[in-house]
């Protein structure tokens, strides 16, 4: 009895390996092509560097983020390499601590956006007719609001909660992602293998997620990089406006706000977060761009015959 189970299990494992191996290969095709481009390497380098900085930062920081190490707006010195902020805390330490929130919140918001956007895109693209029309018009309304205004609107009603910021940034992304996935779905849904599944009587939900979704992974990859870039900017922006982490927490967006009055005396506490947010978005954008180019390349290669 146990033997039989063992055999079946190993078969299942074997199956999944083949499966996973191949699916990874699909994925790797785009990634490898992208990796061949200088822009992607630079992007990955930048992104990796900043993520590493945010992750290990707290351990290598010379002080505690709330510790007063000198006078407010003190210039760089031996004790505080980049000087101090508006109440005398070490800028290097605050910068090292402040990247985590931006990166994690941006990632979370992007994932929410993808989840909602992909589902809506698949449904509208496959259902067409009135479902498509109705959902897309609703999405158009959401699309009409600038993303930051949409987020501000809800944050000002409910209050500056981190989960709300993540949710609103994610929902702001959803219609944009849905449009891209809908376009991909419309194309895939026309192919005969979808007709074949319909003729067998496979359920609509299964067709959407098992037949169509796997064919949209490549544009999905590109969207992920692109929306992550926007998320970083939006989250940092909301934080700057005072809707993110609250003082005395260390956060790049917040730092810019707190220290902007002293920018002429001591530019470092403003400059450092600005530069880091800037190059972080450049990094993610380069990755997305590389993926996008790789995707077009791959489609050109296999699209023929």
């Amino acid at each position: 009895m146990s033997d039989v189970t063992a055999i079946t299990d190993s078969e299942v494992v074997g199956l999944q390996t083949v499966h996973a191996g191949r699916r990874r290969a699909e994925w790797i095709m785009t990634v490898q092509e992208a990796w061949g481009m200088g822009r992607t390497k630079i992007g990955v380098g930048i992104f990796g560097f900043i993520v590493a900085l945010a992750v290990v930062g707290p351990w290598i920081a010379p002080y505690s983020p709330t510790e007063f190490v000198g006078l407010p707006f003190a210039s760089p010195s031996g004790e505080a390499w980049l000087g101090t902020d508006y109440i005398g805390r070490d800028v290097v330490t605050r910068v090292l601590y402040g990247g985590r929130t931006v990166i994690t919140l941006a990632l979370a918001a992007t994932l929410i956006g993808l989840g909602v956007g992909v589902t809506l895109g698949l449904i509208t693209g496959y259902a067409r007719r009135w479902v498509d029309e109705t959902l897309m018009r609703i999405l158009d309304v959401v699309l009409a609001f600038p993303q930051i205004v949409l987020a501000l609107l809800f944050v000002s009603i409910v209050g500056p909660k981190l989960w709300l910021i993540v949710l609103m940034v994610g929902i702001g992304h959803a219609p944009r992602i849905a449009r891209v996935i809908r376009a991909a779905t419309l194309e895939v849904a026309q192919r005969d293998f979808v007709r074949a599944a319909e003729a067998f009587g496979v359920s609509r939900l299964k067709i959407i997620f098992s037949e169509i979704l796997p064919s949209t992974t490549s544009p999905l990859l590109v969207e992920f990089g692109l929306r992550l870039t926007y998320s970083i900017g939006l989250i940092a922006g909301l934080s700057f406006l005072g809707f993110g982490l609250q003082p005395p927490a260390a956060d790049w967006g917040l730092m810019i706000n707190e220290n902007r009055i002293g920018i002429t005396v001591q530019p470092w506490p403003v400059l450092m977060p600005v530069v880091l947010i800037g190059i972080l978005t450049i990094g993610t954008n380069l990755i997305a761009d590389g993926m996008g180019r790789a995707l077009i390349g791959i489609e050109r290669d296999t699209g023929g015959t």
Binding site: L15, F193, F200
Partner: protein
């Protein structure tokens, strides 16, 4: 080796040789893989040379290189092309521009894609005359334009010339492309499957025009095609290409009556025979792509005559005469065997009707719409048990729509009755009971589109099994293996993905998926139109056998009237959404009643 092929090619004919190609080799640029290898041929004035080959044989690449053009990623690595003694490959860009469209011109496969949609056809036609400064004056060119249009049997009035390409039919567009090619009275013209996208009737007219113009103006024409039947009606001489090499070249009669290369012989017996005397025989396997070609003679793995030497060395140019050239180690033995021995007569006993006929599917007064437009009118047709009914028609005749209505895939309005075993069928497959969905299986036209590229063959075959049966894992596995066996595929394919299979194998998988559902009715929608002739023949053989052995009722949709006798017992001919003729295959093909059937029969090219 290559030089031997062109040794004094003028012997045996007083006509002047216009084009000579010698030892042409084309490689893929970074990898250096050969697309074309030692291609040598020659064409005299007023002569049509048919260059025949299956997909990926390198025929189009070879043909376009005559204009010193190389598609992206391809590079001419060696050889010589001369037109009237002029070395084409030695010419600079400026000189090439002068000869292209002047000395040598090109007719593309799909003229609807190669005509500029934003320019009126008159403008486009005048452009080519202007570019080569034809006749030296505007008046001269105006006159030539009118003459050109007359040559290709198109009106040359102002209104017609002011039309845009989309306002012309497919046949008219191709005529415009031909007019352009003949505009500057070229010496050589390269025609790259110019009739593939056209219906047989239009094709017949276009071929006539090409033949007349080549003769009339003494042009040397290279006609590239995969269709031997077309070449049989058009060409004076034929070159058969396989895996980038010309394996046999000779006059049409020499090749058709005493082909010396095994591939030529096999190719001929895989061409559907409209008379139905001959059984269709496929060639096992498929033509290899560049980079996957075996060493030695590339046909070795598919060849009955292969000996050890074949896989070691590519045979030199040899052959019975200076004009009839073969590249095969055993050509003398192959040639000694009379061509008739290749012919296997069709087993006609199978055509005999069973007296008791049970109707499986009956369609009555069916009207189908595409959006608001009525595309099928008053269709009445019945499919009997264990019989195969062919549904023949040109594109737009509604044959696929009818097939899709039966399969429950037509997404627009239909009126009328479709009955299966006496019970009415719902329009949408989803609304039909499970047993009905299982009983009627549909095989799609393109195996490139009907198999999900992201799924393994196992997952693809599992779909119908999961929906229709409640099976254990082992039972499923056994059923899948059985289904693959039925279509002569190996069970090791289960872990592969569709893009790792050839077109023929993919279509077999699609058929296996249909069979896995254990249907009683199989609806095959142009299932061979995407395949090479040699593979098409094998698929037809397979379907015919399955239908008999499993007692299936089959609806076989096709545009190719020549295929009908090889597979079906009954035929229904469709035109413009109506069935114009319906009956037993012999009756309809031998004594057609409807004018449309007669026309279709006379226009279908045969060998």
């Amino acid at each position: 080796m290559a030089t031997a092929m062109t040794t004094d090619p003028t012997t045996g004919s007083e006509r002047e040789v216009v084009l000579t190609v010698e030892g042409l080799t084309i490689v893929l640029d970074p990898s250096g893989r050969n697309i074309d290898d030692e291609v040598s041929l020659w064409i005299r004035e007023g002569e049509v040379l048919g260059l025949v080959g299956e997909s990926a044989s390198g025929k189009t690449t070879a043909a376009t290189s005559l204009l010193a053009h190389q598609r992206r990623g391809a590079k001419i690595a060696g050889g010589e092309i001369t037109i009237d003694g002029k070395d084409v490959l030695a010419l600079g860009d400026a000189d090439l521009r002068t000869i292209r469209g002047g000395l040598i011109s090109y007719v593309p496969q799909d003229s609807s894609a190669s005509l500029n949609p934003a320019l009126r056809i008159g403008t486009q036609l005048m452009e080519i005359l202007d570019a080569h400064d034809f006749g030296g004056s505007g008046a001269e060119r105006e006159a030539r334009l009118a003459e050109m249009m007359a040559e290709v049997l198109l009106p040359s009035d102002h209104d017609f010339l002011r039309r845009y390409p989309h306002q012309l039919s497919g046949g008219q567009q191709q005529r415009v492309a031909i007019a352009m090619a003949f505009a500057n009275r070229p010496r050589v013209i390269v025609l790259d499957e110019p009739t593939t996208a056209l219906d047989v009737t239009t094709q017949a007219h276009v071929l006539d025009t090409i033949r007349d113009l080549t003769r009339q103006y003494g042009v040397a024409a290279l006609y590239v095609t995969h269709d031997l039947a077309v070449v049989a009606n058009l060409a004076d001489r034929i070159a058969v290409m396989y895996a980038g090499r010309i394996v046999e070249i000779g006059t049409k009669e020499e090749l058709f009556e005493s082909g010396q290369h095994p591939y030529t012989r096999k190719l001929l017996s895989s061409i559907p025979d409209i008379t139905g005397e001959r059984a269709l025989k496929g060639i096992p396997g498929w033509a290899p792509r560049p980079g996957q070609r075996p060493p030695g003679c590339a046909f070795t793995p598919r060849c009955d005559w292969a000996i050890e030497k074949c896989s070691e060395e590519f045979p030199p140019v040899d052959g019975p005469t200076a004009e009839h050239r073969v590249r095969c180690w055993r050509w003398q033995e192959v040639g000694a065997q009379a061509a008739e021995t290749d012919v296997v007569l069709r087993d006609r006993s199978l055509d005999a009707c069973e007296t008791v006929e049970k109707t499986v599917i009956s369609v009555r007064d069916l009207i189908a719409f595409y959006q608001r437009k009525e595309t099928l009118h008053d269709i009445d047709v019945t499919l009997c048990e264990r019989r195969c009914l062919s549904l023949v028609g040109e594109s737009g005749s509604g044959k696929t729509t009818l097939a899709r209505c039966i399969a429950g895939l037509h997404q627009h309005k239909i009126v009328g009755d479709i009955e299966f075993m006496g019970k009415p069928l719902a329009r949408d497959a989803r609304d039909r009971p499970r047993a009905t969905r299982q009983a009627i299986q549909y095989i799609f036209q393109s195996p490139y589109s009907s198999l999900n590229p992201r799924k393994t063959i196992r997952q693809i075959l599992a779909a119908p099994l999961k929906v229709f049966f409640d099976l254990s894992r082992d039972e499923m596995e056994a059923r899948m293996e059985k289904a693959l066996e039925q279509v002569a595929l190996d069970a090791t394919l289960l872990n592969r993905y569709p893009d790792q299979l050839s077109g023929g194998e993919r279509q077999r998988v699609a058929i296996a998926r249909g069979l896995a559902a254990e249907p009683t009715v199989l609806v095959c929608d142009e299932v061979t139109s995407w395949l090479d002739v040699s593979v098409q023949a094998a698929i037809i053989e397979l379907l015919a056998n399955l239908q008999r052995e499993m007692g299936l009722s089959m609806l076989f949709v096709t545009h190719n009237l020549a295929l009908v006798r090889s597979i079906s017992q009954e035929v229904a001919v469709m035109n413009e959404g109506r069935i114009v003729e319906h009956g037993g295959v012999d009756a309809v093909l031998e004594d057609p009643q409807a004018d449309y059937t007669k026309k279709l029969l006379s226009d279908t090219p045969t060998i």
